[in-house]
């Protein structure tokens, strides 16, 4: 169940935002996609799911388990989404539907792909809520998103993405909108679930320090092109491109603040 992206080209309104990106996520691998904002990380993720905004066209090849996804009719693509490939978005405040209960949203993909009934779905939602360590799963599934904290909402989003046990999880900056202590909790939760199910992970971030915690292999994007790809340890110790060096400087600046420096 590997994902192979080859010479991906995405044009939005005639402007080329992804320009020949190639990478591979083998079964069980943890790949990091890193770059500054606007480098095309999120667009790549949306292209894999076939959910590019209108006015956008994708060319090249995206193969999931040998099946070509580019050019596949939307109805057929929908069978892969959620079931084979799950995604967690960046902003937990907007990633949940404000007028549906948390439980219904967690079990949504399970209901779509397996057609289980309402009562069963609720039971499943409670189990999934417990897996992502939401407090009091029995009552939280009947709550609405605005009654939850940011960290809790991101846990719900993770539960939604994992409810069908996808083979590949795409995490699009899932911790960027959270404060630092919650970030660490959500990251370790994500990692433990990925490991538990042996699924592949494609983690998108602009933060090399975060990448170092989750991924083993990194692909660095800039202006829609891959400018460097290497094991994360190499990126951290011997970054080849100036972009990676810059990202590393930013990361170290947050990790090792000079002692005695003014706060």
């Amino acid at each position: 169940m590997s994902l192979v992206v080859q010479d991906l080209i995405v044009e939005i309104d005639g402007r080329r935002v992804i320009d020949g990106v190639s990478f591979e996520v083998p079964d069980g691998a943890r790949l990091g996609l890193i770059g500054e904002s606007g480098s095309g990380k999120s667009v790549t993720a949306l292209a894999i799911l076939g959910l590019l905004p209108d006015g956008a066209t994708a060319n090249g090849s995206i193969r999931w388990d040998g099946t070509e996804l580019i050019g596949m009719p939307d109805r057929e693509l929908a069978r892969f989404r959620g079931d084979d490939i799950g995604i967690v978005f960046q902003e937990p405040r907007t990633a949940l539907n404000p007028i549906r209960t948390v439980g219904r949203q967690i079990s949504e993909s399970v209901r779509i792909h397996t057609g289980i009934g309402k009562r069963e779905a609720r039971q499943r939602a409670i189990e999934e809520a417990a897996r992502v360590h939401l407090p009091d799963p029995e009552t939280i599934v009947d709550k609405y998103p605005h009654q939850l904290s940011g960290g809790q909402r991101q846990r719900v989003a993770i539960a939604m993405a994992l409810a069908c046990r996808p083979r590949l999880l795409i995490a699009d900056e899932p911790t960027t909108a959270l404060d630092v202590t919650i970030q660490a909790e959500v990251l370790s939760l994500l990692l433990s679930l990925v490991e538990e199910h042996g699924m592949s992970l494609m983690f998108i971030t602009h933060d090399l320090a975060v990448l170092a915690q989750v991924a083993t292999y990194g692909v660095v994007l800039e202006d829609g092109r891959v400018i460097e790809h290497a094991p994360v340890s190499t990126l951290l110790t011997a970054p080849a491109s100036p972009i990676t060096q810059g990202l590393l400087r930013d990361a170290t600046a947050t990790l090792w603040r000079p002692e005695g420096g003014d706060a």
């Binding site: 959910l51 006015g55 989404r81 779509i112 009654q147 904290s149």
Partner: protein, 288 residues
């Protein structure tokens, strides 16, 4: 009692709106089988009777029983209001959906079309329709339905567009919903609060428009009992028989107010964040 009904009942305005609307509908239903007097039967000797037994609300200048006229007029009101509501919903949702969810040139065309249509007052639309098909209640229904459908589209379209661009709609598609399933589960329910208020307002204005258009001769014919016709009949004698003109006026006011208040509380019932604000005082905060 379903949740939304309980929520409407829990506020005083919602209770009033619900009771008023249900009451008018019931009166219209009863008038199909029974009214105290035949609403069209004139009685020259009983002209301008004061409110008393057996004419509880008095009689008009031809001796017709005003209570019976109002009961029978409720039929017209419900018919026009519901009819215009259905037409406005279809026109409004169709235009909003085409203008928000399709490809670009279609969206832009619809936006321009809505802007053009909005320039036509309901009265002009009514005159255009009635010049072709003649005056009837259907003219009122189509004119108000189209006029306010365009209005609904104008307000709902940007809202639909905003919701469509939010992450949870993308997340719904990412969970495997097809585009049409996503529309029913995530998009339309999220514009419902805005839509409901617009719709209830349109239905309320339809009541007023029926009165106005019937008054001008585009709506109900003289043999159909209508609050608008009754009001325009009686207001000519307002200086001589001021009491009689109150009744159709009161009936119109209660219906319009009831529809508006019901719409408002329905909106609150469909938006969980509004209920939360009301209940916030005794909801403990949950910490991650």
């Amino acid at each position: 009692m379903p949740r939304w009904l309980r929520l409407i009942w829990s506020s005083a305005t919602g209770r009033f709106g619900l009771i008023a609307v249900v009451l008018i509908a019931l009166i219209a239903l009863v008038s199909l089988f029974w009214t105290p007097f035949n609403p069209l039967e004139a009685d020259v000797r009983g002209r301008w009777a004061a409110p008393s037994w057996p004419h509880l609300l008095g009689t008009d200048g031809t001796g017709r029983d005003i209570l019976s006229l109002i009961m029978a007029g409720a039929r017209t009101t419900v018919f026009v209001s519901v009819g215009a509501g259905v037409v406005a919903t279809i026109v409004g949702i169709a235009l909003a959906a085409l203008g928000a969810l399709t490809f670009r040139w279609m969206r832009e065309t619809i936006a321009v079309l809505v802007d053009i249509l909005i320039a036509f007052p309901v009265l002009i639309i009514a005159m255009m329709i009635s010049s072709v098909w003649g005056g009837s209640l259907w003219v009122v229904i189509w004119a108000v339905g189209i006029g306010f459908g365009v209005n609904i589209a104008r307000v709902t379209r940007p809202e639909l567009r905003r919701v469509q661009q939010s992450d949870f709609v993308l997340a719904g598609r990412a969970s495997g919903l097809t585009a049409s399933q996503n529309l029913m589960r995530h998009l339309l329910p999220n514009v419902a609060p805005v839509f409901i208020v617009q719709l209830s307002w349109s239905m309320a204005v339809a009541v007023l428009a029926e009165a106005g258009l019937s008054y001008l001769g585009f709506g109900a014919s003289i043999t159909e009992p209508s609050w608008g016709i009754l009001l325009s009949d009686l207001q000519r004698y307002i200086s001589i028989h001021p009491l009689s003109v109150i009744w159709p006026g009161l009936a119109i006011t209660i219906t319009v107010l009831g529809l508006n208040l019901l719409g408002d509380s329905l909106r609150e019932a469909t938006d969980p964040t509004l209920q939360h604000r009301r209940a916030e005082v005794h909801t403990p905060a949950v910490v991650a």
